[in-house]
């Protein structure tokens, strides 16, 4: 269990992390989401005792990481896969790490085999591809067989095969009951692997919820209703607490779910031709939540163009 308690990190005038609190619960995969520059890496460094919070505290299994007597046995971390000496072989790189934690050299061969680097164990890491560096970084994190794993952007820059490999491995590690804390700015990746998400933007907590809750809460989740009595049904639904927009006899309903709409329509004898609920993807929900907190926002030109195109298409159809 990782407990982040009201941490703030300032670099001069810049506030990288702003009164952030959350708990990474044991035994599940928790995704740590946020746009670039949101403070994800800074937070991970503070969890690992590398950076000191300006205020607040972080504990791992109830202790500050710095004070753990055998930290490698409790926590494994992959921050920057390329943080290795190019002159070391894969085996030698893991050897100095194993020695630091008093870990048996037999374990090095085990983890090398697990990540599929046994054949290149004697090759210098300077010649490794990014995918191989990631595998080596994961081998290093798993060396002492810890229950808690922290991965900072593990799929960044990987090819589809590498991404699939990491996804499979994470699911396997999660199935063993390990606690996994995984940061990413790739939303669809999280949808596949995480059970729970913590979303931050500009160093502040935006959401801390299960994947299902997170996407349901999004305004992008809506129910589409097609009815010949659009205006009347809209009024009834609004009275029931929904917010409704009407366009060409199609109602876009948010605030109440599809079964409830069906019941209301049936009770009031409305004729309904189509009733479909559309759940927002994690990406939609994320974009919506972090829009306000994006550090580097591209101009809104694209959105405007798309809208214009839709209008002209609609005009052509008429």
């Amino acid at each position: 269990m990782i407990e982040v308690k009201d941490i703030t990190k300032r670099y001069g005038e810049t506030v990288a992390v702003d009164h952030l609190s959350f708990t990474v619960k044991p035994g599940i995969v928790t995704g740590f989401l946020g746009p670039n520059g949101a403070g994800k890496s800074t937070t991970m460094r503070m969890i690992l005792g590398l950076d000191r919070p300006s205020s607040g505290e972080v504990t791992v299994n109830g202790h500050a990481y710095k004070t753990m007597p055998a930290p490698m046995h409790e926590v494994g971390a992959l921050l920057d896969a390329k943080a290795a000496h190019g002159g070391h072989t894969a085996y030698q790189h893991l050897r100095w790490l194993a020695r630091a934690g008093g870990i048996s050299p037999r374990r090095i061969e085990d983890v090398l085999e697990l990540v599929g680097l046994s054949d290149v164990a004697g090759k210098r890491v300077g010649g490794f591809s990014l995918g191989m560096y990631q595998r080596l970084g994961i081998a290093a994190a798993l060396l002492a067989d810890p229950q808690i794993l922290l991965f900072d952007e593990p799929v960044n820059g990987l090819d589809p095969e590498g991404i699939r490999w990491i996804r499979t491995l994470l699911q396997q590690l999660a199935a063993e009951g390990r606690t996994i804390f995984l940061s990413s700015h790739l939303m669809n990746e999280m949808e596949e692997t995480a059970d729970h998400v913590i979303v931050i933007g500009r160093g502040r907590l935006i959401a801390d919820a299960s994947i299902a809750e997170f996407t349901q809460r999004s305004a992008s989740s809506h129910v589409r209703v097609v009815t010949p009595q659009a205006e009347n049904l809209a009024a009834v639904l609004q009275r029931a607490g929904a917010s409704v927009t009407t366009a060409e006899g199609v109602l876009i309903v948010t605030g109440i779910d599809a079964p409830t709409i069906g019941q209301i329509a049936a009770a009031n004898h409305f004729e309904v031709h189509e009733l479909a609920s559309r759940r927002a993807s994690l990406e939609d929900a994320f974009m919506e939540l972090t829009q306000a907190s994006l550090e580097y926002q591209a101009g809104a030109a694209n959105t405007t163009n798309t809208l214009k195109n839709e209008h002209s298409l609609a005009a052509m159809e008429i």
Partner: protein, 276 residues
């Protein structure tokens, strides 16, 4: 307990032995880092060979050109002429032992594996100090015998390692070679930059040579004598050479120790406090 396996031959779960990591683990880990790098052997061999070759060539030049031997001919000091080259190479080695970890980002992995920063700091300094002590002694003993052998071949007076003056020079200078590489390691920690730390430590090493001969005598006595290299040299070669910038050996030791404690101490405090 059920274990899901990706490959039946390699379970992820291993037997647990969470013994607390100790200083000896950190020392073994740091040793492992340096001892497995080819560059460690290349650099140290280069230091030894450059020093011995410089001494041998100098002795050769002296032997080949001097018909009659002057009264103050000193075969011990002549044989130590290559020291500066070893010192440059070992100082660079000291800087690289830590600056390379900063440039690659590996320092974070080191501190994740061993979050006790004092332990990492002292392990690095103890190890680099020990390696340079061995390399330094190999260098001065090698230079001594090479120098005496070449001078002897030209029929010039030679010294024996049984001579107390020779012993003090050879072992003292060899051991004192640890001084600048240790400062180099400390500058590597302080500046986190290979180029910056090398420039700083070599600048400090060469400062007396650069300004020494040109400076007026009073400044040699009162200012240059306070430089770290003159402090160290007062202890090691002061009994053989006369130089206004040299102090009494005890004062020299005090000067050298002050530099060492100040710079290494500053590096220690920075290493403990700073974000990695």
């Amino acid at each position: 307990m059920t274990t899901v396996q990706m490959n039946p031959a390699t379970p992820i779960t291993a037997s647990r032995s969470p013994r607390p990591a100790s200083f000896s683990h950190t020392l073994a880990s740091e040793w492992s880092k340096l001892a497995t790098l080819r560059s460690t052997y290349v650099t140290l061999s280069l230091g030894v060979l450059l020093s011995i070759a410089t001494t041998a060539l100098t002795a050769l030049a002296i032997g080949a050109t001097r018909a009659n031997v002057p009264d103050n001919f000193d075969p011990i000091t002549i044989s130590m002429i290559g020291t500066i080259f070893g010192l440059i190479v070992y100082s660079v080695f000291g800087v690289l032992a830590v600056s390379r970890e900063y440039s690659s980002g590996m320092i974070r992995l080191t501190l994740i594996a061993t979050p006790n920063r004092s332990r990492v700091f002292f392990a690095k300094f103890a190890l680099v100090g020990f390696i340079i002590l061995v390399a330094g002694l190999v260098t001065t003993v090698g230079m001594f015998f090479a120098g005496q052998a070449v001078l002897g071949a030209y029929g010039m007076p030679v010294a024996s390692l049984g001579d107390p003056d020779a012993q003090r020079m050879v072992f003292g200078l060899g051991a004192a070679m640890v001084f600048f590489p240790t400062l180099g390691l400390a500058f590597g920690v302080l500046l986190r930059s290979t180029a910056g730390a090398i420039t700083t430590v070599l600048g400090l090493l060469w400062l007396p040579q650069i300004v020494g001969e040109l400076a007026p005598r009073w400044s040699q006595e009162h200012i240059l004598s306070l430089l770290p290299s003159n402090g160290v040299d007062s202890m090691t070669v002061g009994h053989m050479q006369h130089n206004p910038a040299f102090s009494d050996p005890a004062i020299g030791a005090l000067i050298a120790a002050t530099w060492l404690v100040t710079i290494v101490g500053a590096a220690y405090l920075q290493f403990l406090r700073r974000d990695a």
